[in-house]
Symmetry: C2
Subunit: 667 residues, 2 copies
């Protein structure tokens, strides 16, 4: 793998090797469109919302309580509550970028956290203080290393955006403590929740200190050998069932599995361990092919927040945790940098638009923890000021007892510009499309600047204008042609106007660009029916609508007469069409059931002569999945039943006439 000397340091992930070189937040700016709006809401609403809630529920105060020796009595929240402050700090640092508008908040939170760190670097408010359980006495559930991992990521974010500060120093002390405690000769264990691994690698990348990388590699190698207790959910829950390099698919708790895989890629890249990288790619392939929802969501078990069996992807039981979406993007991004393969950017795009973007409400002050693809009953609106149980996400809630998702979304949106584009010796690669300005230097200090303009994802036209090219030599602009264009035609228009079709994968233009040169990519953004592999039993006989990278859904608030979504039948033989305001209209029928004349038994002989559905169709309005549940309690479904004769056949005769029935009682 090629050496990588990043020109920028403002990077969430800065591998020293890889096919592609990441561009920093000082090289890529998002200037408008879908993600600019989301990032604006994140900066102006979500970050402060998270800060205030953690103050209010006492998680911030835990650190003070620890410093004052009363934490055993006064501590609030779950074992991992500390990590939410760290994720928030990381988010603030990346959102501030090099501008640093959030410096005051960062300083204040750092000041709140600092006093709780012990001289040896250990920092956790749930263990090790007078009256508490001793440190690392519960590696399965204690989350101590997991918390240290998020602390380290926050410290790295500060150093990369504003230079090393107090937060970075705290993080380094914590990392030194972890190495001293879990290094050779130390505790032969791993944390029940991975997360420390990618953090230590990133710190090694920041500082150049090998020992952090060695410790991460040690954690990766140790896992899968049963050092953790075989608990209620089995060792598979925390991936301690099988060594990382021997596993063939992601399994167990989805967030844990994805964080671990991300850390394994980081270690593989830094140590040149291609076998390990190959193992993770193999696991990603099997997971995407068999254990991933249409939205990119991962995890179908509520009980243990875990992946289900192959092809067991029931939409009404989709857990699809927001944090698993965040972790999936982390993994895909690392694999993209390592391999250069566009399929990783394809999954990241799908997951960003349909999971990460779905979690926060329009106002950025309420969140989905899990992201079901089918909800049959309207839920009550969670109260503004109460903490919701974590998976009761019929509607977005302002905060959760386990509130990992809000801060995870916040830090991801804050980092987002870094995921748009990369560079290599030959030029610049565009992976995600948004209005953006990109400036970097290629081989030999060759300065280039690009300006991207697009209406994506509502439209499919992407214009890339070369604003600057400091050399007369040829270089390459690569554009990802999304996998979702398969079956339709995408066009690329060169600066000279030459127009050619391009296939899913990568489209390239190589030439001696001059300022003002424009490349145009035209993607076939239009609604189309999607069907699933027939082995996905749970969606047999249904179709879904996708438009560009966006998955659509039917939401009850768009149905007439207060109907719920179970009345919808669609006609897959008629192509769905664009409706007003980003909606899609599908031909279909509304089959209202007369519950007063219900059949007494819901199964009946197949009637070959069943009447075909009447010819008349009505337009069913569909909206982007990420936008649902912003208009009050509603029901929703992504997979829409296709019309069949039996769906409109009369119900079976009541075997005992309704009137007759009650007269027989008490006679």
């Amino acid at each position: 793998m090629k050496e990588n000397t990043a020109r920028s340091l403002v990077l969430p992930v800065a591998p020293s090797r890889g096919r592609l070189r990441p561009l920093g937040l000082d090289e890529v700016r998002i200037t408008g469109g879908f993600w600019a709006r989301r990032r604006h809401t994140n900066e102006t609403a979500t970050l402060g919302h998270c800060r205030d809630w953690m103050e209010r529920v006492g998680w911030t105060g835990n650190f003070r309580a620890a410093a004052e020796g009363r934490v055993h009595r006064d501590r609030r929240g779950r074992e991992f509550a500390d990590s939410e402050l760290y994720k928030l700090l990381e988010g603030m640092a990346w959102q501030a970028g090099t501008a640093g508008t959030l410096d005051a908040d960062i300083a204040a939170l750092t000041e709140a956290v600092a006093p709780a760190q012990t001289p040896d670097g250990y920092l956790n408010t749930a263990f090790g203080h007078p009256g508490q359980r001793r440190r690392y006495s519960d590696l399965e559930w204690g989350h101590e290393l997991y918390c240290h991992g998020h602390l380290i990521q926050a410290g790295v974010a500060q150093a990369r955006t504003r230079g090393e500060g107090e937060l970075t120093k705290i993080a380094r002390r914590a990392a030194d403590h972890v190495c001293a405690t879990f290094g050779p000769g130390g505790i032969e264990g791993v944390c029940g929740h991975p997360g420390i691994e990618p953090a230590l690698v990133e710190l090694a990348r920041l500082t150049g200190e090998e020992r952090y990388l060695d410790q991460a590699a040690l954690f990766i190698d140790r896992r899968g050998h049963g050092t953790l207790a075989d608990g209620e959910f089995g060792r598979v829950y925390y991936q301690d069932d099988q060594p990382v390099r021997r596993a063939t698919v992601l399994r167990g708790h989805a967030v844990r599995a994805l964080y671990l895989a991300a850390g394994a890629v980081d270690v593989a890249v830094e140590t040149g361990d291609d076998d390990l990288l190959t193992a993770v790619v193999r696991q990603w392939e099997a997971t995407v092919a068999r254990r991933t929802y249409l939205t990119g969501g991962m995890g179908s078990h509520h009980r243990d927040e875990s992946f289900g069996e192959d092809f067991v992807l029931p939409p009404d039981r989709a857990y699809s945790e927001t944090c698993a979406g965040v972790a999936s993007v982390m993994l895909s991004w690392r694999l993209l940098l390592a391999t250069g393969e566009p399929r990783f950017a394809d999954l990241a795009e799908r997951t960003l638009f349909n999971v990460v973007a779905t979690s926060p409400a329009q106002d950025g002050r309420a969140f989905f923890y899990s992201n079901t693809l089918h909800r049959r009953h309207r839920g009550a609106v969670p109260a503004e000021d109460t903490v919701s149980p974590r998976a009761e996400s019929s509607l977005r809630a302002p905060w959760f007892a386990v509130s990992c998702c809000p801060t995870n979304v916040a830090r991801t949106l804050a980092q987002l510009p870094a995921y748009l584009a990369t560079a290599d010796d030959h030029g610049v690669q565009l992976h995600q499309y948004a209005d953006a300005e990109i400036t970097t230097s290629l081989e030999g200090g060759h300065q280039v600047a690009l300006r991207v303009r697009t209406d994506y994802p509502s439209g499919g036209s992407v214009t890339v204008r070369v604003d600057r090219s400091s050399s007369d030599g040829p270089w390459t602009v690569s554009l990802r042609v999304p996998a979702w264009t398969a079956g339709a035609t995408a066009w690329l228009v060169d600066p000279d106007g030459t127009r050619r079709t391009v296939a899913p994968g990568t489209a390239e233009v190589t030439r001696a660009f001059r300022a003002g040169d424009e490349i145009r990519l035209e993607l076939p953004v239009r609604p189309c029916w999607i069907r699933a592999d027939p082995r996905v039993d749970a969606v047999r006989g249904t179709v879904a609508v996708q438009r560009g990278p966006l998955v659509y859904c039917a939401e009850s608030v768009d149905l007439p007469d207060g109907h719920e979504v179970d009345v919808i039948r669609v006609d897959p033989s008629a192509a769905p069409e664009d409706g007003p305001d980003g909606t899609v209209v599908a031909a279909g029928q509304i089959t209202a059931y007369d519950t007063r004349r219900e059949a007494t038994w819901p199964y009946r002989p197949l009637d070959a002569t069943a009447v075909p559905p009447p010819a008349d169709r009505t337009g069913i309005v569909l909206v982007p999945y990420h936008s649902w549940a912003n208009r009050g309690p509603s029901t929703v479904r992504v997979w829409l039943p296709a019309m069949e004769p039996d769906s409109t056949a009369p119900p079976p005769p009541d075997l005992v006439p309704a009137d007759d029935r009650h007269s027989t009682i008490g006679a």
Copy 2:
């Protein structure tokens, strides 16, 4: 409702009022066929198997330990383990019937139990002894009244089969204790697990003592007012969310809900409370129409063994607990006696053949606890001598930590002859079909004897021969025409050879019968496709096969090349046909997936031009659902995917060719 003076006392359920009068075990004998074989296995294998296991796991010893004051140290099994001995005792009593071949076993077990009863009648080995929690300190989970209920049913069974004995005396003392403790002025509570209610009513019927009935009525009225704690699963789990007479559907823990409903019918019948009876009928209707599996199985949630939401009946998540099947038969039988409506016998038949008969292995020494309708992976064979976790029923297990099902199946098979037929002033009604001999007396001491011969359920011909009729006056023989005949034609042939078609419901022949008269019912027993209400999302696009009352399934052991059931597609346009040895053969295809050339993404645009399935069909062998998993580890499915174009379309192209893929790593 009409007064009921049963001619027989050998009855599991002996209401004093009702449309129909039950016939006792001394009036109905099963002489051959399907149920005779099952009852023979029950008598010769299952009863002893249960007795030996309870000895071996120490549940029998608990009573001795209680008598000796060391039960706090030595007790084995869950809180409700006592009840398994009582259910076994009840089963032995009914199986012994008036013959009493099992008297020695009954006496020995009674002797084991007796010393643990305290002078005030309380009998439970989990509470109230030195070193244990005090009596009734955990009404939610303690199961003390539930255990007393099964003890009382065992005592009633002894009295009704062999006359009042020691076991009956113990039961009466326990019942007196319950009335004294929970009656007016006593503890204002109910048991977390219903069961005491029908038991007290049956004891009142046996003894004529009103106070047992009053106590049962009190328990029914008390429930639903939130006297139980709002625990992990909510008050709905033990039906304490809503008064019985106000509920509109069965909900919460399925066995609890059904036992409670059965007790409510008993109370309603004895007290003439027609509103209560009407409420239970309404709940039964809604439950059967919206919350019941094709097999008659009830309960779709593993987590709390509960009913799911309306139409949420995923076959692969079917819990369909065996004991819920037993409880459903209890409820249906009571409603049949009260109302005379054949639909209750229809559900009982479906549940007996497809749930109760499915639980025990052919040898009667292993059992299903839950009865899934779809299993994707072969399970390991539970070891002969180990106790299985309760719901891990990929294969039948010899015993469970929560082993309610084996003894519940045993007592149900023992009682079975009592569920075949009833009588009223005008004659005899046949509800279930088996080779049997029926003798009873009608109005005015008119003696009648009937002999039933049939090959049911393999065949549909039922011959009823009048062996005796002591009066020359006319009387009526009624035969249930099963609901499953809807859409086909059933015939009835009178003694004089007159042949007429009969509709689902009841067919009657009234005349002055003479010895030798024969009636023949010809039921259209042949395989046919069944489809579900389109609101059952989980089985959309699939069909099932039913043949007479039997639900069929595809089992992997009948597929070629070691395939699992997920490769099957059937052609609903071709009628399934009878195969050899009670099998059914359906036209279909086997779509083997080449997992080496898997698609990287399981969703793809709907291709209107998808290739239609090839014309060639192969025969898919189906077997009765109750018989599955008797030939080693296998996979199974009841709902079979119908062939569609997309089920045979080629997989989508890999967006990155497999070969290309790995070369990009580590390059």
